[in-house]
Subunit: 504 residues, 2 copies
């Protein structure tokens, strides 16, 4: 069952109306990281809650407690839980989104006012903070609800909503809410949930829609080296003492090569084998024609067919710095291989100009991006053992401590699931393109929270393009992505109904 | 001719009077680095100028122009030039000192008010900002002048004074003044100068007076590595791009070993040979008894007799971090060997906590301390060539630039000169100890300015001890150092007269 033509027509007929809805949402500066803007985040919650109720949802604004921000204890913005439909014969899809945004000021380099949606019909782009992250996708869902209400047709699935106002500030309070609602089972908001759909990431490029089935995990570390009682003058002490910076730089230089190869023994254990399995299945899903002749050891083939180029990567990075000329290699590097980045040093001289200090205590920061079967726990053991061993070889009289600061498991979903198949068919129907199946290099922690607590399939179904500039100046969403994206979200629901009815 | 007993007696009889003089000086918060305190620096200049005039000096307050500080253009504090005596049969000694101080606030960790001299007769220490750096030594000279005026006896030498109020802020304006006065020759303030004596450094320990005949030079560098157009998210890009931090850490790790050995090819050229010569002369001066059996290749012997221990070094550094258990080795490291310190990184994450950034452009800061025959020019060629070669080996597609930011030549004086011999005899007379002959690891740029512009011997004759805490909280000078120091400065003038008359 593809989406009914009247739905598609309604979306086309209501483009201006839908753009106005997005403009209203963008006009509320719901910056969660700024205590003075907290009333705007609450205003945004109420505005969104009214929209949901207007188009048929039963909702609840759930208080999440307090936080300390800018030295003051203030209320967290409420989360919104909601539901439309309770038909046991229909699948129940949980939608997640966030209505808070990153900070933005015109003076940061915006060409237009960040909290006034600037619709440039010439380029087909709409500029404004939150336009793509994540108000555009949320408005897409509201558009779908409005269409069905105005057309007087029932939604093909039961819909659940979980919208939060703290995503840009660590999703404070949300994990507990999800866990407690999940524990309530049939008595909680999430009763009967069959799958989760999250629109909060981006296409791999600017051309091809995608479905995202994996995220890398992370393990963040800090190496602290100390020795002197206070910072020393390099003229008076230089040459006569063991210097903490020399030790820290030596240790940091032994973590990863310039080519990105991680030097920590055992860190790659199991990574290659896991991917060979994954590869077979993925080929099966996307490229039936290749399945028979698949060489499970040739990892690169599945990436060959993604619509992506090294130029896409370098254009987004703003520099010719790809470490391979092969798109398959850089795609695997982003998606399915672990990586290690050196982020910086705390405690050393970090200002402009010249200061002749021997810093007394320095903290080196680095993190690994993890892929299955890596876990922060296992990797931490290997990192600590290796760094301690390398420090021992330096044979200094300094003190070294290596700490795991935070982390999260990698996540890979079953892209064989009906939810992915429904999204693929919806994409083909709306965009006339087969979507890229992607894994993201970064983490979206709420994904794992839903997967772990609800035990159902989670899919990331992005609306925006790779160049939307979430978190950056001149954040935008293309009109076509917003409008076709609305059609895609609606169509996805119909494909879910179609596939699961067929299978049942 | 040792100092007359009546001078020594006068100093003993006027201890309280001299302490009051220092208390008056400390009470003026002449912080040169704080624009709001500039009137106090000028007040201090006037106060000092009055003291000089009261005790017989002809003086001039010399304006040095303006500077920009805290965003405002303000007048530099004047320098004071002065003279007592113009007898062609006497030697003329130029005294340098500075009457400005480092910032200090009680809240920084001072036990007493920093700008109220706290005299603790129990411990024999006087606490206050500027007590040892550099108001104590300047007051020492004023004490000498007062004694001679009150006793009605002529000074044994002609005295010149050059006191500045910007030493703690880069001695702005002073180099030009010295150069222009030097160029005036017999028509300038510095006419007839025979030697320069500077009391603005410290003993090697807390027990033994010293004469300082050398300072290390410095060459400060910045390595800049760039690539991406802006900071990147390590989740999205980690593994697929060459990262500037990885390259910078690799380069910084190749500059110096944990033991302090500098890895830049050719950096030690000539250093060892220079010291063998220096060693013979030094032995001749200090240890006549060893001269016959001197092994010029055994560099360590001259350091064996300095009153110093590894414990002194570690106590001052606040940690057990000496890179040798041999005092001779650590002394040579501080005094006569070059060193290389890694100071920090600008542009990377330098805050507390965790941030998953791939910094786009990072600047690594490091400097070398230089000894003869090293010069910043020669070392810079070697550093640039080496860093560029090492960067090439990384084979990345990043951009690297290595820059020389600033520097200065090392300085070594002829400790065979009558000025040093006079100071040695004065030390033996006052302290009943043979002084340590030391070289300082840091730089005191005005030393080189005097040496280069006046072409006469320059000697550093410190008054305070190694633990005085100049620039730190609870800066102090011991009463005994202040009073014996006053005797030492006076006696030095008599020994100069004695030696030079004998020689003439």
């Amino acid at each position: 069952m593809v989406a009914p033509q009247e739905f598609i027509q309604f979306v086309d007929d209501n483009t201006d109306n839908f753009i106005n809805r997005l403009a209203e949402a963008v006009a509320i500066p719901s910056i969660s990281g700024d205590a003075t803007r907290r009333p705007d985040v609450v205003k945004m919650a109420n505005w969104l809650n009214n929209q949901l109720q207007r188009y048929g949802a039963k909702t609840e604004l759930v208080p999440l407690g307090t936080q300390v921000l800018d030295g003051k204890t203030i209320d967290l913005p409420p989360a919104i839980l909601g539901r439309i439909g309770d038909d046991p014969k229909k699948k129940t899809i949980l939608i997640y989104g966030h209505f808070d945004v990153q900070p933005a000021e015109k003076g940061d380099g915006w060409n237009t006012e960040p909290f006034k949606l600037h619709v440039d019909k010439q380029s087909g782009k709409m500029f404004g903070r939150g336009s793509t992250d994540d108000k555009g996708p949320i408005m897409g869902w509201i558009n779908v609800l409005e269409a069905h209400q105005k057309l007087g047709i029932a939604l093909p699935v039961n819909m659940l909503f979980c919208f939060e106002g703290m995503e840009e500030s660590g999703s404070e309070g949300l994990d507990d809410l999800i866990a407690s609602e999940a524990k309530k089972g049939d008595k909680g908001w999430f009763r009967g949930v069959d799958a989760v759909c999250i629109s909060d990431n981006y296409w791999l490029n600017t051309r091809t829609p995608c479905l995202t089935y994996g995220l890398r995990g992370i393990a963040y570390y800090q190496i602290t080296v100390s020795g002197p009682g206070a910072d020393l003058h390099s003229g008076i002490y230089g040459g006569a003492v063991y210097e903490p910076m020399t030790a820290l730089i030596a240790l940091m230089s032994k973590l990863v090569t310039q080519d990105g190869h991680i030097l920590i023994p055992g860190v790659y254990d199991g990574v290659a084998a896991a991917d060979a399995d994954e590869l077979q299945v993925l080929f099966h899903i996307i490229h039936h024609r290749y399945y028979a002749q698949l060489d499970p050891l040739n990892h690169s083939k599945k990436y060959e067919d993604l619509d992506y180029s090294v130029a896409d990567l370098e254009s987004a990075a703003g520099g010719k710095i790809a470490n391979s000329t092969e798109k398959t290699t850089v795609l695997m590097a982003k998606m399915r291989n672990p990586s290690l980045s050196l982020h910086g040093i705390e405690g050393a001289f970090s200002g402009a100009g010249a200061k002749t200090v021997i810093p007394a205590t320095v903290h080196g920061k680095f993190s690994l991006r993890l892929v299955p079967p890596q876990t922060p726990e296992d990797i931490t053991k290997k990192v600590i053992s290796y760094v301690e061993s390398e420090f021992g070889k330096l044979n200094s009289r300094l003190t070294m401590k290596i700490e795991y600061l935070h982390g999260g498991k990698p996540w890979v979903a079953d892209y064989n699931h009906w939810s992915f198949e429904a999204a693929k068919r919806a994409t083909e129907a709306v965009y006339l393109q087969t979507p890229n199946y992607t894994r993201e290099g970064g983490s979206i922690p709420v994904t794992l929270t839903f997967a772990d607590n609800l035990g159902v399939n989670v899919m990331l179904l992005p609306m925006g393009r790779a160049d939307d500039g979430a978190h950056s100046t001149n954040e935008k969403i293309d009109i076509s992505n917003y409008i076709k994206g609305t059609k895609l979200l609606g169509s996805y629901l119909y494909e879910v109904a179609e596939i699961t009815q067929t299978k049942a």
